[in-house]
């Protein structure tokens, strides 16, 4: 009984680590998510379901996420309109996205400078937060998996 409970809890825990659950967050809550693992590099990808280049580069991220398992935290932030949450969930399923999946509930752009003052607000956009506090931006989409891997490896050696 006890063992099965443990297994149950274990399953629960592992599914929550790599869940497909989408959380709706404010920018303040997103900041908390980003700062929750300061010792790890965190790769934050901002995307939207209608953004063609975002959706096109998503498979690179999912492959890289597998490759850097436990070493780099991947955080996917959907900037879809709040009325589009069902579409976001649909796309998460379709692309088999997992991990930290959030939809940002911020109607304005005040938060953009807080995340990265050099970023214009145009997506696709990816930013790597390093444990030493540095942030490395990548504007526009990655052209290939190698392109993304190079970006991560340049700033963070395993």
């Amino acid at each position: 009984m006890r063992k099965s409970l443990l297994i149950f809890l274990g399953t629960l825990l592992s599914t929550s680590v790599l869940s497909q659950e989408l959380n709706i967050v404010s920018y303040q809550e997103l900041e908390k998510i980003i700062s929750a693992s300061p010792g790890k590099p965190r790769l934050i990808n901002l995307w939207a379901t209608w953004c063609k280049p975002c959706v096109e580069e998503m498979p690179y991220f999912l492959t890289a996420q597998e490759r850097y398992k436990d070493k780099v935290e991947f955080i996917f932030v959907s900037l879809d309109f709040m009325s589009q949450t069902p579409k976001v969930k649909e796309m998460i399923k379709k692309l088999s996205m997992q991990g930290t999946l959030v939809q940002l509930n911020e109607p304005g752009g005040d938060w953009i400078n807080k995340l990265d003052k050099n970023w214009s607000g145009a997506i696709p956009y990816t930013v790597l937060y390093l444990p030493n506090g540095e942030i490395k931006e990548h504007y526009d989409a990655f052209s290939s998996l190698e392109d993304l891997i190079t970006f991560i490896d340049t700033h963070f050696s395993k």
């Binding site: 900037l79 009325s83 752009g109 953009i112 214009s120 607000g121 145009a122 997506i123 696709p124 504007y139």
Partner: protein, 203 residues
């Protein structure tokens, strides 16, 4: 030898200036270089033609981007409200139609007809104007104030603070900027940011 060095340094300086202009673009207070772009009616348009204008609301926008679409009605309302007061909307599509077929000239014409655009909708075919301005996304607005020395950038950024829902807007940044210029007052917020679509540059 000395001359070659001089030439080389001039060349380096020129490249540096050109690059910095294209990376940074116009900031508040900069004077905008005039341009000549094709409007949806086939005519070429320059800012200098608007002799009665007191300034302009230049907006880099396009057909396909949902954020740009979300603002189409509000852009028309701005033109309706401010053209007669001397601040017409000048909409510019900077996207490469090869990358986004929806943003082709033909589709601009169609989109403008369908929505009933009351303002020029220009095609920035070489993307030179977008680069000069430093436009990074659609929509991206520059409010220009006509002064004795030229069209000066007075505001750069978002139209307002709620893209999805016009009824929930708290700050009408562009309106506030134009109203301040019309009333000879200082603009309280001269720079904002908003989420948008990347400009699709030619490859």
């Amino acid at each position: 030898m000395k001359k070659t060095l001089q030439l080389a340094s001039v060349a380096i300086l020129t490249v540096a200036i050109l690059t910095s202009a294209s990376i940074n673009g116009y900031k508040v207070g900069d004077t905008v270089k005039d341009f000549k772009l094709k409007n949806i009616d086939g005519k070429m348009i320059s800012l200098s033609e608007f002799s009665d204008a007191k300034g302009f609301i230049v907006i880099f926008t396009c057909n396909h981007c949902p954020y740009a679409k979300a603002y189409e009605e509000r852009v028309m309302a701005l033109d309706n409200k401010y053209k007669s007061k001397g601040f017409p909307i000048i909409a510019i599509n900077p996207n490469d139609p090869v990358a986004v077929p929806d943003d082709s000239f033909e589709n601009m014409v169609q989109n403008a007809r369908k929505k009933g655009f009351t303002f020029p909708y220009l095609m920035d075919e070489t993307q030179q104007v977008a680069r000069q301005f430093g436009a990074a996304r659609t929509p991206h607005v520059y409010v220009l104030n006509k002064t004795a020395s030229g069209n000066e950038v007075a505001y750069v950024g978002a139209i307002d603070d709620n893209t999805e829902d016009a009824s929930q807007v708290k700050h009408t940044y562009v309106e506030d900027a134009v109203n301040a210029l019309l009333n000879g007052k200082d603009i309280s917020v001269t720079e904002t940011k908003a989420v948008g679509c990347t400009i699709k540059w030619k490859k």
